[in-house]
């Protein structure tokens, strides 16, 4: 008969035990510090390289040596030395850099929110756009614009707050659905999204139609998802929200691991599921609301990126969440570079590019990888 291995008492870690833990760690069966550092190091490096490439491309390419010099000068607070570098400097620092930063922040946030929603709803297709959280946030921001929140001196922080409120409204409905079913099965998830999207779009269209023509045109462009040249002050407003939201989200990575096992299992492992879920839902609404109020509805990043990252790096949220954030940011930066250079000087809304990349992937998952959707 098989024997039980010797009992290990907590607090009695010996040398004999440590080789066992090394054995588990060395084969990549569990996430270790070194694997975490390696993966994120490589992704971080890629992000920096890609952002330089994105700075290079534009209506007029700027040489990489020039980019590095301007960036170095900006960091060390030196003024430009000659005429040509002055023009390049303005283009880089006032046009391309803020836009690339915005793209990175938005992509980063949407991918992180996607990871959180997928674990919370136990559904690998969950995504703020598909679920209708983005359109809820868009409605909130549109209402804000209608009542003039965009023109107050608090504009840069007031619109994200409106978006937060709208996103929260959508998530309350989703939360009720999930609470009724225990998890959100794929069909009711999609159905919830379709219904919420329909209602919110109708209301947004209504608001658009009663605005003056020039403001309504701006709103339409924003709704399609755009990263058009933000000012640094609007970036700061966004960053305040995102830093709070994402830091809190990142503090919940281990809880997300446990929640991904299912609600009852999570409770038997000591997670106060109701509290954790409420907390996480509010955070996802906060981040989505802030992002949407600035960049409009950019879809599918929250679904495609975590899915791809999970395939390569595994399901542990301690790696999945930061890695998805980096990949999402890099992906949106690149997509936006394509959007502004493909038929330059005309810009394509970046939401179109991400939807064209993500939509087919979504169909592929639904048609051929049903096994992944449970």
């Amino acid at each position: 008969m098989k024997q039980l291995p010797a009992m290990i008492q907590p607090g009695s870690c010996t040398d004999a035990l440590s080789h066992e833990s090394d054995r588990l760690a060395s084969h990549g069966a569990i996430l270790t510090n070194s694997r975490w550092m390696t993966a994120l190091g490589i992704l971080g490096f890629t992000t920096i390289v890609v952002s330089l490439v994105c700075l290079h491309f534009g209506a007029q390419p700027i040489a990489y040596s020039e980019i590095l010099r301007v960036l170095f000068d900006a960091v060390s607070h030196k003024d430009g030395t000659d005429e040509t570098s002055d023009i390049a400097r303005t283009i880089l620092l006032q046009v391309r850099l803020p836009r690339i930063l915005l793209g990175f922040l938005v992509g980063c946030s949407l991918a992180s929110v996607g990871v959180a929603l997928q674990a919370l709803l136990r559904n690998p297709l969950a995504d703020p756009y598909v679920l209708g959280v983005s359109s809820g946030a868009a409605l909130g921001a549109a209402v804000g614009v209608l009542f003039g929140a965009g023109t107050t001196f608090l504009a840069d922080t007031a619109l994200p707050a409106c978006g937060f409120a709208g996103g929260l409204l959508a998530l309350v409905v989703i939360y009720r659905m999930a609470a009724t079913y225990g998890q959100l099965p794929i069909h009711s998830l999609l159905l919830t999204g379709v219904i919420l999207n329909a209602i919110f779009s109708a209301l947004i269209m209504f608001i658009t139609s009663i605005l003056e023509p020039n403001r309504s045109y701006g709103m339409m462009a924003w709704l399609m998802g755009t990263l058009t040249a933000p000012t640094y002050s609007s970036l700061v407003g966004l960053v305040i929200y995102l830093v709070i939201g994402l830091c809190l989200l990142f503090s919940q990575m281990r809880v997300l691991n446990i929640l991904a096992l299912g609600e009852e299992s999570a409770r038997t492992l000591g997670v106060d599921t109701e509290r954790s879920k409420r907390f996480l839902f509010v955070l996802t609404a906060l981040v989505t609301g802030a992002v949407v109020s600035v960049s409009g509805m950019i879809g599918f990043i929250g679904m495609v990126v975590p899915h791809a990252v999970r395939l390569v790096l595994g399901a542990d949220h301690r790696l999945l969440l930061p890695a998805s954030a980096l990949v999402g940011g890099t992906f949106l930066m690149s997509a936006d570079t394509v959007a502004r250079t493909l038929i330059a000087p005309t810009e394509i809304p970046v939401g179109i590019i991400t939807a064209l990349a993500g939509g087919p992937f979504f169909v592929y998952l639904l048609l051929w990888r049903k096994d992944r959707l449970a």
Partner: protein, 300 residues
């Protein structure tokens, strides 16, 4: 038994005996009434109806009963996954209603019936999650918090106990039902619990692993003083491996006692409304339940 296992037994004996029936109660269940919220309008539909019993420390208690008798609900109430409307449940003398979920998780491991997984965690990662309730609370900073070597060693030991070391690197979504079941039991063992609650632990398992898990549970009781409460449909398994059996019907205790007192033909016929044969097991002498079977024509 092999010589190696005998020396192990000797070693176990020489250690402080883990399991002595202390007379302490792991669980004290006092007049518990439970029903699901949506049924509140129907006065008669208590799932658990004025239930009182205790679980002794260091025993294997089997809960049996027909479908819908409240077995799974009882297990969930014990795990505080559901809160009874009336009555009180004490866990080692403390009212579970006053305990935090995390405190309970350090004492009670739960293996649920549905072990379906959605996300591709590896087996090792899944088992290691059993250490979660023992990790320091890391509300703000420690989203990363790596497991200590001790945690990993405990998880590895749980995997050895459940014979899933060879699956370490496999992804849980790709396991068979039995492998998944053993993974989840290993995760519960990694919690280093004092009490293990299992809902149909052998449902997905083949004969070999049914026997193996049942005897592992008994050995855990013997060597580590684990209290085991398991819900099962398999009367024979429960009769062979449990110290006491709790027979439930309509949320009430019909019988509670050693197998010989509970597995009796009249009692089973009354509860299950069908005739069965009960005779002593040729090996253990414990009661054995046989279905009456169909009459076979003597010509063939």
């Amino acid at each position: 038994m092999s010589g190696k296992s005998q020396s192990r037994t000797a070693e176990t004996m020489s250690r402080e005996p883990m399991c002595a029936l202390t007379g302490r109660h792991a669980y004290d269940v006092q007049s518990v009434q439970f029903r699901y919220q949506s049924n509140e309008s129907h006065a008669a539909s208590w799932i658990l109806d004025n239930l009182s019993f205790h679980v002794q420390e260091c025993e294997v208690l089997g809960i049996v009963g027909p479908n819908g008798s409240g077995k799974t609900s009882l297990l969930k109430v014990l795990a505080r996954l559901m809160i009874p409307q009336q009555g009180r449940i004490d866990l080692f003398g403390r009212d579970v209603a006053s305990m935090r979920q995390r405190e309970i998780a350090r004492i009670v491991g739960v293996v649920q019936q549905d072990t379906q997984q959605l996300f591709p965690f590896t087996v090792a990662e899944t088992v290691l999650m059993g250490r979660f309730p023992h990790r320091p609370r890391d509300r703000w900073a420690g989203g990363f918090g790596w497991e200590s070597r001790e945690d990993v060693a405990i998880a590895e030991q749980a995997m050895m106990t459940m014979d899933i070391v060879h699956l370490t690197h496999r992804v849980v979504t790709g396991l068979s039902g039995g492998e998944r079941q053993r993974t989840v039991i290993a995760r519960a063992l990694a919690q280093t619990p004092k009490v293990l609650l299992l809902d149909e632990p052998t449902a997905f398992l083949d004969l070999e692993h049914q026997i193996e898990i049942s005897s592992v549970l008994r050995r855990l009781r013997d060597e580590r003083g684990l209290t085991v409460v398991l819900v099962s449909h398999d009367l024979n398994l429960v009769s062979q491996y449990c110290d006491r059996i709790l027979l439930l019907d309509h949320g009430r205790v019909v019988r509670l006692g050693p197998p010989k007192e509970v597995i009796e033909p009249e009692v089973l016929e009354f509860v299950y409304r069908c005739r069965v044969l009960v005779d002593p097991h040729p090996g253990s002498g414990l009661p054995r339940v046989t279905l009456p079977g169909r009459p076979v024509s003597s010509k063939t």
